[in-house]
Symmetry: C2
Subunit: 205 residues, 2 copies
Amino acid sequence: MTKPARSPKRRRQPTQERARETVSAILDAVIRLLRRGGSRSITTNRIAEVAGVSIGSVYQYFPGKRAIFAALHERHIQQVDRLLQQKMSESAGESLEHLVAQLMDGMIEIHAADPELAALLDSEVPHRAGPATEFSVRWQEPLRHALQPHAGRLGGAARLDLRAFVLANMLEAFGHAVATRLPPGLSQRSARAKTCRAIVAALQS
Amino acid sequence: MTKPARSPKRRRQPTQERARETVSAILDAVIRLLRRGGSRSITTNRIAEVAGVSIGSVYQYFPGKRAIFAALHERHIQQVDRLLQQKMSESAGESLEHLVAQLMDGMIEIHAADPELAALLDSEVPHRAGPATEFSVRWQEPLRHALQPHAGRLGGAARLDLRAFVLANMLEAFGHAVATRLPPGLSQRSARAKTCRAIVAALQS
DNA sequence: TGAAAAGTTGAACGAAAACTCACATTCTCA
DNA sequence: TGAGAATGTGAGTTTTCGTTCAACTTTTCA
């Protein structure tokens, strides 16, 4: 049951509006299932059921289960990138602190929306070749670029690549942690403030 | 095939030495399968085969597949905790830098040993109630305690809980990143050094 | 307007995988 | 040393789940 269709069968491309709605209902259903029962309860038939669509329609647009996850992955990446790009542009010309705060807010927002999503997609979607899909790798270069204007405030040797590495991983870790792993006794407010300061300090180290 | 025995059937408790060897051969087999083919190739029959044990023996000690992962999870947590405890005690009385470096080395070592392990266990093992199993939550308190002696060097208000939160999450993120997500052009050596400095700076912020 | 194209349906198939069980082997200890 | 307990075996059963397909409905457009 697991080994899926190896055949790269062409599937229908949705052209009518209702078809596009079907496709997005399918992707949304995966998210809803994720929120409910965790990745264990996700089967193609269940996806169809939750999407309010027949199983046949699922296979009309996706050649197999992995393809559904892959499509969701892609959609998620696009949403994340769009949001962060916006946050970054909003803090163009502003201070380093402002940039970091904006990015952190974006990351918290993303992780709060679908806590398990990133983890599931990473584990279910085959690590394909091509452009890196992991956040901290994908954003390495854009972040390095965003740090450029603040190079003066960063330590002498600068090494922006190392600092982008630090920034990318701290954003990912703290975004997730502040949104979903806050230990008892810590408020999100104070954790957010603290992590922003920590990131700036780390960047300047 | 997925929904496993819901019944909380009692399974045999290994009392003889060979039985304990069987159990640990089973857990080791899961790791070996993980290193080889990725989580996709892990089936109970394959686990038995790789463990050099019959499938019957597997079900002698585990009520189902999840239970195998859960047991591996537990064993992994114990190994991780033992290693870090050792690193921590080795840097008792030493500087904050020394402590952070030791902990980072531990984390890198852990993630380098089985890059996929943590991800697999997180996605396969049901998030049970009871004591937290996630590293950054589990180590919050021990790390707060370890920071105590260095409170003087940390910012005035101290707030050791916030700093422990920062430390725990940076260790986890950077441990993973340095061991497995190093972007091209960065050496592990320089990344390690940089992240250690970043952590110290973040703690002092 | 009507026929072809696009979209939808869901029972049923088949293969993969979880799990059982009756029997064989090894160990323990009185 | 031998009987019962513990352990091990693996062919076979059962369940699950991905996937197909032939029939049906809706939309498009000439």
